[in-house]
Symmetry: D2
Subunit: 304 residues, 4 copies
């Protein structure tokens, strides 16, 4: 069956009416999203593009941004990075403080909030204007110069993101945060507020399916070894405490965000992004998980 | 480079002299193993076989047996299994009680000790002679009718395995163990005592690289869906709290044991077993990890 | 107001009809107790005795026995004891394994189950017949040669006490249990099964109100320093995770058991025992707590 | 022996030369204190006063201030207070976040940092000028109008008190902090910076030894019931995770601070303050603990 037919089937078979979760409510601005939104964009290494629904509408990428900031930090620091953040799955919800306490302020991996905040700290230490540099990277690899931060969302998060403040202060007490707390939190809430469409995300994540090179230009963004590390991390840690379930249901490295987006890649085959704002209990897009499961089942392509 | 040349390079480049870990000492019988042992066996879906060193010498497979008992339990119960053991990485050492306490006696996954003990309980409930049935399965898929339990090792473990007794009693207190404690622990220590060579293990694990079918006969042992689940679990949970590191370094689903064995598979390519008894701090074979890392690097084949 | 009038008032004002808890159900034999039972016995250092209700009916003293075994262990070992069990309040339920894990198998205090099991281990190591020696001590200090173990209760506990087995095996794994698990657990369930009346308990605990000496004979059982240590432990750790509340409401060192008994002492004034089998959520006798609170309020005597 | 002779003996027998701890270093300003300082002040309900050494030199009272703010909060709120902070010993270090996570943001007691920060929040909610009101109370009950905050110390703490910020943000995320974080932390660091002498502290704590009334004027500051609650809390929770040890060694309700001060009371007998800046591993004054132990041993007065 052709990719387009598979996407058509997914669009027809799945509906927001059949899911039971809820739109993220802890960030006031995200709670306003229309729960009916549903879109998907598939981008193949042979340059084929397939899509349906709201695939070109921008939404808040939230935690998906952690893959971009990690990429930037790995370009800057290389292996030294792993002294400040580990690479193991956490087995705990994405914002646990307990684990930090027992592990002396070293987060389990860069995709839980504490880990992403350490990455933010590293970027703030090493870049003159980290917000601009992040934007530049994301615009470049997605090929869309119009991508930007949504400052309304960033402000909305800042006014309620007490737990993230707690994480940063706690790691600062334990010596794993070097910069001013406000600066880090401000950068972090901005990265989460990045507004991108499924198309943007699928195109941006193509570097992880294509050994670190941009597909159209061949430009090298990351070494294959760094891509392998990032893909491995997405596989084991990309879905909070539902990583094992996603790994089985979908069988691809990927990353989700509470805005309802999920991106996944099949190395040397394709990158794919899906968006539906209704979340399951673990905080991952319910329809998005189902769509990706259907995709790998129907294509017969999974890494396992 | 041919597979045999790659294996030769691995054998030449790696030596027990360059590693710093120690042979497992907490099981008296295992502490006696010669630390110089080193062997590897690679079995391809195109039926090629490549090996070096002590690849045909039997050793105690220990936790690798958890993949066999899980396979048996999945054949018996299907999806009902997942009410009694979860599928998420644990983020904790393999024998943690804390996690059990906070999760009401449901182990995080079937590859930590508590999870394997629940699987043992399920087999004891559903099979008349689980020890015989497990042996039958392992002999069949490895094609070696001489594989057997090493009762000296089993007895040795039983006399010191207090922590496993604690896990079983604790889960029994929380209602997740149905049978007599002694029976379960006896079965568990027997499964761990299975004595197999790299050749045996590589052949037995071929079903996970070959969609659930035996390579030589084509006999179907597990459905492709069950194989996908098991491979996914090996990927995310196969190496205790070093799963993330192994996933990156090697990039293949696999399972290790404190006897120094590691088995890994590359779906639709090969299964591979390696043995060296010296363990790193996380309890995985130090030379075994290095050998597999070299294998995927030199072949350029990783699932990422 | 005279002590007898105060006890009369307590008997009249408090009723099992006004409480909302339940009789302990996890030990089958204890679940059969008549919830209407209610008795109290007050024993003064000036030799006055006051009582009401079921004050002379025997019941299962359960955790109250931990004070007797601790006394025996302190007579045998002195300060060396505190290397194997600490003296701090636990802040966790009486049977937590988590705390043990983080503190390497050293229980927080001798009144949580793990601590009492270490004390049992010490007695088993140091006494030829610990069951006989414990019985001898309890009969002597209570002046009642008819006190005995209730083997039906002991057997009932043994058949369901999986969590205690888990605690012992876990501490044995961590090196803090020296003897055979069955022997310790058998001793522990026997000590808990001691059957005593309020009169027996008040008389036995008089040594803690009287600087370690028996009131009638003046015989010295414990040094004043050891009595101070035990009283201090009863004050801070005698009521599981309700120690703080009891300390405030009653303001006396004491110890409770899930059989519904509570004993408390006012140094150099009196010892007092109360029994009502209905327990609050924390596992302490609801009417017993109320009775003691009323006693200290009406007498105006509290250590604070 | 007279009280003065006992104090003389304490002064002669104990020396900073015999202790092995260190002056608190995590607050820069406190690290500058002369470790040789040593003073004690005993204030009896019969109005006798006894002292030695640096008994009239002011030092930073730090956590001892938590007793004053709790007193103020209890005057304002009564029993409603206990919905926002519990009354049980914590069994964990004074600044643990883990416990907060498992108990949904309700601190175990008002003397661990998280509990004191909730008390600070309550004062900020209920008082127009909490700093002024606290100062007024402390000046009044100590009879010293010159007591004041040491703003250098407060500023010093604020610049390094990241863990306290983490606690406040975390409890705010869980709904147990109502006011602005900066305001609470500012108040908290000011209360800790209160500069008082042993004489000041002994006089101020007399209300807890005297049923809530000031000794000289007879003015009622707290009801006897509230005093009983506070004394009970000092007994079970006044010394972080050394509460059990202090309860045994000294046998009096008390409170310590990392400035090296300890205050204790013997109900209806005396209040006593001691100061020596060298701390043991648990953060309590090493010489201070020894001095109080000697006092209760030599007087033969302990609540047990």
């Amino acid at each position: 069956m052709s990719y387009q037919k598979i996407l058509n089937t997914i669009e027809q078979d799945l509906s927001y009416k059949d899911v039971y979760g809820e739109v993220a409510s802890y960030i006031p601005e995200l709670a306003k999203i229309d729960p009916k939104k549903f879109g998907m964009f598939l981008y193949c290494v042979n340059k084929g593009k397939f899509e349906f629904g709201d695939s070109r509408e921008k939404f808040s990428i939230q935690s998906i941004s952690k893959v971009f900031t990690l990429s930037l930090a790995m370009k800057l620091l290389g292996e030294d990075l792993w002294e400040r953040v580990h690479v193991e799955p956490s087995g705990d919800p994405f914002n646990s403080l307990t684990q930090l306490e027992y592990e002396n302020g070293i987060p389990r991996n860069p995709f839980i909030n504490s880990g992403a905040l350490v990455i933010a700290d590293i970027l703030v230490s090493n870049l003159k204007d980290p917000k601009a540099d992040l934007l530049e990277l994301v615009r470049k690899i997605s090929g869309n110069p119009n991508i930007d931060y949504d400052t309304t969302v960033a402000t909305s998060e800042k006014s309620t993101g007490y737990r993230n403040y707690a994480l940063v202060y706690y790691m600062k007490a334990l010596g794993n945060i070097k910069n001013d707390v406000e600066t880090i939190v401000d950068f972090y809430f901005h990265q989460c507020s990045l507004s991108m469409s499924c198309e943007d995300l699928a195109k941006a994540f193509m570097i992880f399916a294509n050994q670190g090179k941009m597909l159209e230009t061949g430009e090298k963004i990351l070494t294959p070894k760094k891509v392998k590390r990032i893909n491995s991390l997405m596989q084991t840690c990309g879905f909070y405490d539902e990583a094992g379930e996603f790994s089985f249901e979908v069988g691809l490295p990927g990353k989700s965000g509470v805005g309802g987006g999920i991106v996944a890649i099949h190395p040397e085959q394709y990158s794919v992004a899906v968006w539906s704002p209704i979340l399951n209990k673990k905080g991952n897009s319910e329809l998005g998980m189902a769509a990706l499961e259907k995709l790998t089942t129907m294509t017969g392509l999974s890494i396992f």
